[in-house]
Every structure is written in C-alpha cells, then in structure tokens.
C-alpha cells in the first residue's frame, strides 16, 4: 500500500548539488508498524517529508494506496494529506490558544465534508488516548506527553490510512515516551499502518520492522521478531513519584 520506487532527492544550492536520497525502493503493507532509523544527515527527514506528501522526490515514484503523489499538484497533495495521512511531530505543533478539543478538530476544517458529530468524534479520540478529563485544557496546561497524545488524537480524527510520526518521543521523558509508544502499539494491533521515524534504536525496537538509512539509501531492512512491549516496560518502571 506504500510503494517507494527509485526515489531520489537532490537539493541544488547555487552550483552545489546535494543528493540526499539515492534510489530508495521500499514496499510497506497496510497494517505494518515500521521504524525508519538513521543518524542525522542520512536523509531521514527528507524521506519523512516525501512520505508525508509535503515534498516531492526529484525522481522515482511514491504510490500511497495506489495514488502516485508525484503527478499531483499542490492542492491535490493537500487533500491527500488531509484524507490519508495523520502527522505526529516531535514538537507537537499545538495551537497555543486552542483547547485540546479544538486542536483535535483542526483537520476537520479542511475536510471535504464537516461531520455533524465533529465534537463527539473529537471527544472520543481524546478519550482513546486517555485524555477524557483534559478536553478543555490548553497546551500550556498540559505536559509534553499529554500534548503528544492530543497530537495523536488529532492525527487520527480523519481516520487516515497512514500514521506518520517524526521523532514523537524526542521531546519527552522516558515514561511519557513509553506511553506514546504504547498507544502506537495498541493502534498497530487495531490494524493501523504506522511509520515511526527515529534516531533512537530503543524507540525503533517497538516497531515490527526496521529500515535503516545510511547515505541516502536503505542500508538495512529487517523484521523484528520480538519487538519491545511498551506497556511491559512501563510496568517494570519504578512507580511514579507523585508531585
């Protein structure tokens, strides 16, 4: 359902050409939980932007559910993102002055049809990430982990076929990070397709399959027979010190 075929990306700055991605061909089936790993400068972010349809490759094809995004114009890409992709960012990217509920409902504004039950849907989505009691809180009143969970609810509100998480635990402490990963694993069990971009092996080990980027190519593509279980890790942690 995700097909990358000979993806290349070259940046031109003046007379200097930088080939960031070189001939990447990968196939990811619906329902997979894949971690994309790589040190910084390996083209991880560039690949992530292409996968998120925020950027186009210089060459190659990227088919998402059979649609080749390379031939689409900017408007069509916007609609594609709205319909098919849910984003979770390292920096959360919340609207500061908006409540959790409003943040979660944001993608609906750009949807072709605004559902009558938008509010109810958003409440359910928040409840699903354990924030039923934080609906009217603003980002400044939430912890980082809570904000990231709001972001996950926001990413899922349009019921996308791909959940794209870019270093989702990068700004979180270990416990909050594990909580987020536990949600991903739960979503995976429910059949979601998840792409997790990270530089951290320990985080990547929660996926089913790991792609390692090196020098703009896929250096490794290996399945994980025994992924880490985030819930079990949380259970093994010393009890939280209450403040």
């Amino acid at each position: 359902m995700i097909e990358l075929e000979g993806i290349e990306k070259t940046y031109v700055a003046g007379s200097v050409e930088t080939r960031v991605l070189k001939d990447i061909s990968v196939r990811i089936e619906a329902g997979e939980f894949v971690a994309i790993m790589g040190a910084s400068g390996t083209g991880k972010s560039t690949l992530m932007n292409i996968l998120g349809c925020l950027d186009k490759p210089t060459a190659g094809h990227y088919r998402l559910d059979g649609t080749d995004m390379v031939s689409l114009d900017d408007d069509a890409l916007s609609h594609l993102r709205n319909n098919k992709i849910g984003f979770v960012f390292q920096k959360f990217h919340m609207l500061d002055r908006a409540t959790s509920l409003r943040n979660v409902m944001l993608p609906l504004i750009y949807a072709p049809e605004y559902p009558d039950d938008a509010g109810v849907r958003a409440e359910k989505a928040l409840a699903a990430v354990g924030l039923a009691d934080r609906m009217t809180y603003k980002p400044s009143q939430l912890s980082g982990g809570q904000q990231q969970r709001v972001a996950i609810a926001r990413a899922l509100i349009r019921n996308p076929s791909l959940l794209l998480a870019d270093e989702p635990t990068g700004n979180l402490d270990r416990r909050s990070g594990l909580e987020v990963l536990a949600i991903f694993q739960q979503l995976h069990r429910q059949g979601r397709t998840i792409l997790l971009v990270t530089h951290d092996e320990a985080v990547a080990r929660h996926a089913q399959r790991i792609l390692v980027l090196r020098d703009g190519t896929v250096a490794e593509d290996r399945p994980l027979a025994q992924p880490s279980d985030a819930l079990a890790e949380l259970g093994a942690m010393p009890p939280e010190v209450s403040q």
Binding site: L54, D74, F89, R97, Y110
Partner: protein, 402 residues
Amino acid sequence: MNFSRISAEAAWSLAAHKLRTFLMMIGTMVGVSALTVILAIEKGTQIEVAKRVESFGTRLIKINAGGGKGYTKPHPNITTLRLEDAEAIRASVAGWDIVTSVSQRNNMPAKAGSKQCTASVYAVDADWHEAMDWPVVEGDGISDEDVVTLARVCVLGAGLAKNLFDNESPIGSDIYVGNVRLQVKGVLVRHDVSPGGEDENIRAVVPLTTGLRRLYNQNHLSYIRVRMKDPRQVPAAAEAIRQLVHERHHIVPPQEDDFSIVTAGEVAEVARGISLTLTRLLITLAGLALLVSGAVMMNILLLSVSQRSQEIGLRRAIGATHRAIFAQVLCESLTVTLLGTAVGSLLGWTVSTLLPNWTKLKIAVSWEPFALAAACALVIGVLFGVLPARRAARLNPVEALR
C-alpha cells in the same frame, strides 16, 4: 475549501489574540471616526450656506453705504450713498426687476400711550415690501403716495406691535418715533428670529421721504437693494453697479470704496465659517489617516503571519490548501477593517451628534459618509490584506514546521 469554516477560523484567531486584533483595528477606528465627523461638518456647513443664500436671495445685489469686504453692514456715518445713485442704477443697469432704497436707524425710541421701547426704523420705497418679500399681515403697506406726500404713517413689525399694543390691533392708532407722531397703517408678517439671533420683528417701517426729512433730517441712504430678473445676471450687474458708483463718487482704485456690494456669493463665504480649502484639507488628511491605518494593520498582520509560521505549516500539513491559508488571512484583515469601521462609525456618529453642544459648528449627520467609510475600509482591508495573505499562503510547510 469551505469558506464558512475558514472564516470561522479567522474569527477564532482574531478572538484568541484580542490585543493584537485591537491594535490592528485602532487605526481604522480613528480614521473612520475622523472622516465621518469631518464629512458631517462639511455637510452641515453646506446646508447652512444654502440656507443663508436662500434667505438672502440669489437675485439680490445689496449696495451698502461704507466700504469693507464681505457681508458688511451699512455704516451709519457714511453720507455718500444717495437717492441719485439709485436713480442712476435704474437708468443705466440692464435687467433689474426692483431697485429700492432704504435708510435705516437703530435704537430709536418708540412710544404708544404709556408703553415705550427702542426699535429699528426703516425708511423705504413702496416696492420695499416686494423687494424684501415681506408683506403686511394686517392693514396696508407703504404706498407710492405715502412716499410722495411725506405721509405721517408707519407699518409695524410684529414684535414692535406686540411691545406697544400687546394683542390689540394697532391699526389706526398713533405712535411716536422720537417726537414725530405717526399713524399705524399696517403690521408686517412675523419673521423667524435670524440665525444670528437678531429679532427683525422689532421695527417700524416708514415712507422713505418721511424718514429722511421728518425723522432723521438727512439725505443719505443706508443701502440700495437691487433685485435682478435673472440670478445669472447678478455677477455682471454687480460689476456694472460697482463701476457706476465709482464714477458717481469719483473713486479711482486703489482709493478705498465708500460703499460695498453684497451678493449671495459674499453671504455664502461668510456663512461657511470654515473655509472650503480647510475642510478639503481635513478630508484629505482623514483619508490619508485611513490609508496609513491600512499600512499599520498590514504591518501587524505580516508580523503575526511570521509569528504563526509554525501554525500555518501545521495547517498545511493537515490538509489546508494554500488558498485556504490565503483566505483565512485575508478574512482576518477584512474582519479587522470592517470591525474598525463599525466601531469608528459609532464613535463618529456619537461625536457628530454631541459636537453641536460644544461648538458652533453646523453638523448634518447622514448615511453617505458611513457608506463611504465602509467602502474605504473594504478596499483597504483587501488591499493591505493581500500581501500578508500571500506571504502566509506561500510558506513552505516543510520549512515552517522545522
């Protein structure tokens, strides 16, 4: 792209940043209120001028004794304006309808029985009633025969009649002006108190000859009223009269005139109070202020766009087209200017209605300035909203989200 959802986002964004919204709005608010107030003053002045010109008469040329520019009053000590001047005007100026002479004295003692007061006395020709469009309400007016025979008669203004006779009819009774006995033959129609607050009704009107010989013992006139058949002839006739009187009085410019000529043009000039140039300047300034307010708003909006670049990047990532972003920012600028116009209009209307309490300015509040201000604001909102909106729409989401 759904416009109602986008505009709701714009409204939410403005409501969420109240201080910023207020700062964007304040210029439009002040500009619009200034513009509407100035336009109300200009309109009020125009109406006042038209009213004064109307009451003076567009066909009228008044030749006052005594020099001076503008709407001067006849000078009592100048003795050079004579009946012969009026005769000469009749003889040599074409197109006149009425030429009537008036000799006037103020503050003369008037007495009837035990009652007395002071009144202005007007010695006039028989056609004065027609020239002034001021008929009698009771009895008869001054007649040619009265003038020829130096008749000891008078016509009373409604105010003087009331002062001397209360509500009784004065017709046939005698009054004394100074120590001259005159029989009352008529009462003038009551005139409204003039804009200047003078009561024109406290007056006695007597035959010209009676006034000159019996009351004042003089030969000179206060003024000559010329009514033309056609208002378009007034400027040329006024010039002809000026030259004629120059000749008759042996005045060679730059020697100062011993008379002054007043037409509706001079009356209008005096009635304006604020000069047209000044109001035009003020209107221009208010328009400029409105334009500058647009630039200030644009500046703040540009700032807010760069401040919100991450938010805009996020919106793009979750599916906003660049047109949706453009529409939201443009909608914000339009909302701000329209809101500013609404508040500014309210402010301008309030000031316009209160201003006559504090100043002598004439105000006429009408809907046109508000419509104009709203149109201006609309144009400014679009004009100065386009740049920030375009900048926001062109943000590269990849860079904005970094």
